[in-house]
């Protein structure tokens, strides 16, 4: 990995734990193994590191969303499965190390940074809501549930997953135990409340 990428990775790792301000350029340099001035060769200033992280994140997630919202991405089988939610939304977003750290960074910074607050609202509430509700909308379109029932069930599902995200994935250190708990409780909810859709 080149120095610029190392700086970004290390910075994100530290920002996601302590926040932007408390992490100094020297902290990052110490972990990467370079001198402070090297950072200013690759980045205009400290803020530029943060901006670069968000550019990478939004590129990453935009490409994910393009796949997810393409018409034949997950409902081409005509029997929408929650295995899709598992593979894409859980593994490649909520549980993905890079995305998870970006969400932690947004969580810390949103209270005093208006720009980040908007990104936080979007990537932790609005887009997940759209993604999860689109599953239930399809269930209604396929005649498996009534439109009314699919909306109510979708909102309960969304609320349940959101609570699990904050309780396990954005709470303290992200341990294997917490990842497991998240996945198990999510699956448990799906099978007990929505099990009739599977198999």
């Amino acid at each position: 990995m080149n120095t610029k990428d190392k700086i970004l990775e290390t910075a994100l790792s530290m920002f996601s734990e302590h926040g932007y301000d408390p992490v100094s350029i020297r902290d990052i340099c110490g972990a990467v193994g370079i001198k402070e001035s090297t950072v200013y060769y690759h980045f205009k200033n400290k803020q530029d590191i943060l901006d670069s992280l968000f550019i990478r994140f939004e590129e990453h997630v935009d490409s994910l969303l393009k796949v997810l919202h393409s018409p034949d991405a997950w409902n081409h089988s005509q029997s929408p499965s929650f295995g899709w939610i598992d593979t894409y939304f859980f593994d490649q977003y909520l549980l993905d190390p890079f995305c998870n750290r970006m969400m932690r960074l947004m969580l810390i910074e949103q209270l005093h940074n208006k720009e980040i607050q908007q990104k936080y609202s979007r990537w932790l509430f609005e887009e997940p809501y759209r993604i999860e509700m689109s599953v239930f909308e399809t269930l209604s379109q396929l005649g498996i549930m009534s439109k009314e029932s699919s909306e109510r069930t979708g909102e309960c599902f969304y609320a349940y997953i959101t609570t699990l995200v904050f309780k396990y994935l954005l709470n303290g250190e992200l341990t294997a135990r917490k990842k497991k708990a998240f996945r198990e409780e999510a699956h448990s909810y799906i099978t007990s409340s929505l099990g009739f859709l599977e198999g």
Copy 2:
């Protein structure tokens, strides 16, 4: 208000917005209108300010919990009403300015401070869960719902409220608009999902 209380109030206001480290003693003093050394007359050091805030918070909430868990607090009418949730849990906890700021402070600090992470888990997930589930447990004990049904309904209610808390009460600045949205959506959920209990 005396100087010590002013320091605590101002510090909490700033900590809850920016976090503990980014707020300097001089920031607090500037807002209060005193010199730095005055802080060290009232507090041992900066950490002592934080500790004092948690002591006050836990005293405040413990006294609240004592009322809530007393047998004749809310179910003495033998018809548990969600007006109780509204008056105590919403107004005096989630929406209370002091408690809300403490929750924001815990939210910011929990990712890198193990002690605060435990408090965060307790005061944002565990105790709210206990409080909300106790309502539904009573519904089951009164024979209004089956034990099984009350547990499932309680967990959905808890997940829904938790999501609203993070979406509205711990997301950016706490505006009147967000407070209103929280209350309206909470009431809407109660009346549409649990309306048969009221009246």
